[in-house]
């Protein structure tokens, strides 16, 4: 059963990889990387159970925190002015 779930996760990772390669925009790639991050967390958790060593979950926990920060970093470092213009341009930003 773990096998079924982990193969589904692998398939989903492969699909995410296709999206990351095809793009077309940078945001799609960040999105795909973010999704693969989530899937890797699940994969590591399930592998821990599969090999009977669930203490591996520490790694999965690190992943959750780290991949989140790196996603944010890509967005903020890439365009640091974010937030200054948007709400006026689009009119529908956060109010």
């Amino acid at each position: 059963m773990f096998i079924a779930v982990s193969s589904v996760i692998l398939i989903a990772i492969a699909v995410g990889l296709v999206r990351a390669i095809r793009g077309p925009s940078l945001y799609d790639r960040v999105l795909a990387a973010n999704m693969i991050g989530t899937l890797t967390v699940l994969m590591v958790a399930i592998l821990g159970f599969m090999t009977g060593r669930p203490e591996f979950l520490d790694i999965a926990l690190v992943y959750v925190l780290i991949s989140f920060v790196s996603t944010l970093a890509v967005l903020r470092v890439h365009n640091p002015g974010a937030g200054t213009t948007a709400s006026s341009v689009k009119g529908s930003g956060e109010q």
């Binding site: 692998l10 990387a33 590591v44 592998l47 090999t51 520490d58 790694i59 944010l72």
Partner: protein
């Protein structure tokens, strides 16, 4: 089954590798390398190398991505088209690749119990470590005690990296809060950052001090610690982060970590042992080993965390 997962992950790694070579946008490449490191970390978990997986997760997918994006932000997003033909480099790469593949032919088979790696020191590490050092995680005892010299060298290398970045880039000690204006509007990010900042630091401490028992240790904990502060800097601006933990302090801390490590070595010499021979540090040799490992891991953690932050500050403050 694990072999199958292994093969699939290796296949995905290969595809990612080719895509990285083909892609022209450098930020896209950065995202792909981040995916690459996520995949290889899963591979390490499959191979049961949890400490490596933890390191890859913290460094490859986290800090490396952040620093690469910061670098791209300093330069340009487009890959430069090489002016000369790629024929010669291709030949060199193919010759090297052929030599490497030829080299693998002589390697022992996957999982061969008679492979040299399993026969000499590895055996004695695995057998003697519970008696000599008494730390459940053998990786920690090898890294921090048996190979303490190597690790001291590694920490010094990391420290040198920070010195290099400082010498090349330098930075304004008090970054201007240019982002701050925009950040006020990012309510969601700020609330979440406030919620997560202490949790990440707490988790870093757990990884730091739990390294004797499970995957973890100074390197990983230092990186996680730095990631926490990077999250803070992302949410509240570089200037605010620099008020929280000033660059001057970071420079002192980066040096202090290496010094703590070396001081433990000197202390064990003063107490009549050899350099980095921890068992003389306490009355009981096992307690001495524990104390020594705890202290040097602390030194490693402090240096790694402050070096990562120094590099991050250096790259990001350069932009404005």
């Amino acid at each position: 089954m694990e072999n199958l997962i292994n093969d699939v992950l290796l296949g995905l790694l290969m595809i990612t590798g080719f895509a990285i070579v083909r892609m022209k946008s450098l930020l896209g490449v950065t995202m792909l390398t981040s995916i690459y490191s996520l995949l290889s970390a899963s591979l390490f978990v499959v191979l049961d190398a949890v400490d490596v997986a933890l390191t890859e997760a913290a460094i490859g997918a986290g800090i490396a991505t952040v620093l690469m994006v910061a670098t791209v932000a300093l330069t340009t997003d487009e890959e430069k088209v090489p002016r000369h033909t790629p024929l010669l480099p291709l030949l060199v790469v193919m010759a090297t690749g052929a030599a490497l593949i030829y080299g693998t032919l002589d390697m022992p088979h996957h999982g061969d119990p008679l492979a040299p790696a399993h026969r000499y020191v590895a055996d004695s590490y695995l057998h003697d470590s519970p008696v000599e050092i008494g730390v459940p995680n053998v990786v920690t005892s090898v890294l921090a005690s048996y190979r303490g010299y190597d690790t001291l060298g590694e920490v010094t290398v990391i420290f040198t990296a920070a010195a290099g970045v400082l010498a090349l880039l330098g930075y304004r000690t008090r970054g201007r809060n240019i982002e701050a204006a925009g950040i006020r509007k990012q309510v969601v990010l700020r609330v979440i950052a406030k919620l997560f900042f202490p949790l990440i630091l707490l988790f870093a401490l757990y990884v730091q001090f739990h390294g004797d028992y499970g995957p973890g240790g100074g390197f990983q904990a230092g990186v996680i610690f730095a990631t926490g502060f990077i999250l803070y800097a992302l949410a509240f601006g570089l200037g605010t982060a620099q008020r929280l933990i000033p660059s001057q302090l970071l420079r002192i801390l980066a040096a202090a970590g290496v010094l703590i490590y070396a001081a433990v070595g000197l202390e064990s010499m003063l107490l009549g042992g050899k350099f980095l021979e921890y068992r003389v540090l306490a009355d009981d040799p096992i307690a001495g080993q524990h104390l020594g490992i705890l202290l040097i891991e602390l030194g490693v953690g402090i240096t790694v965390a402050s070096v990562m932050l120094i590099i991050y500050y250096g790259f990001v403050s350069r932009r404005h």
